[in-house]
Subunit: 129 residues, 2 copies
DNA sequence: TTAAAAACCGATTGACGGTCGGTTTTTAAG
DNA sequence: CTTAAAAACCGACCGTCAATCGGTTTTTAA
């Protein structure tokens, strides 16, 4: 999934704001970087066509909101990255994790251990089916 | 780091082949996708300028090789992803892990636990400095 | 019915990767 | 030292895609 700079920023805005129409998004970005309402509209439209936003018309205008959670999305991008390079997903992610591990604090390390435990249980029960 | 399709493939080729000159890379890709030697040369040059390849002239031609290990590179891309979306690196990666965890087998889960242990030790010793 | 608001469309621009022919530089043989 | 071949290098062009925005059509609500 290839995203331009403005698309990324709009997506982030919607992750934070939950729901907004074009005018509202425009109001936010107009202050920070200028541009026209049309630009925001077509960016929203592009994100919608890419499946990253949902929208439905409430009264006069489309109400947009993210179609996917930020974490899920980043997870997908990471997966895409590993496939893209024909890397074994598990090993690549493991290696990537090694390089990023200094970013984790004790709390996060614990949560990660919990995830491992859960996954280990799932692997076991899958095997028994 | 934004890479085109051919750039990705050439980079991968060099991760596997270790070292090669333009002619050799060309010989490989010519069979699979056609193209000219010039195209391969400029692709190598672009990757070199992006800092992803090293090269030095041995006799007649440049010998190229990857300037960064595949795993390290993917790690960097993952880090870049999380920063790009202003996401807390630890939490995002954690979330990404959750979404990708089904890809891990028991062996990889164990290695991951080992990494956690190592990192925990490092965190402790950092704290004591 | 109609004016305003929003969606929609089409054109343009700027990056950038891919492509390759032709020119310059380098190398090594004679 | 000369020179032919090999490789690097340069410049041009194309295709794709995000960004941009004006103008037209559609929708909404007064």
């Amino acid at each position: 999934m290839q995203l331009g700079e403005l698309e990324k920023q709009v997506l982030q805005y919607l992750w934070e704001t939950e729901v907004a129409d074009a005018k509202q998004v425009y109001a936010y970005f107009e202050k920070r970087r200028g541009g026209s309402l049309s630009t925001i509209q077509s960016t929203l439209d592009r994100l919608f066509k890419k499946g990253l936003l949902k929208r439905d018309k409430q009264g006069h205008a489309f109400q947009y909101q993210a179609a996917i959670e930020r974490d899920t999305f980043i997870g997908q991008l990471i997966k895409g990255l590993t496939s893209e390079f024909n890397a074994d997903k598990g090993n690549s992610l493991l290696a990537a994790f090694t390089s990023v591990s200094p970013e984790f604090n004790e709390d996060q390390l614990e949560r990660l251990e919990q995830i491992i435990e859960d996954q280990r249980d799932k692997n076991k029960s899958d095997g028994s089916v």
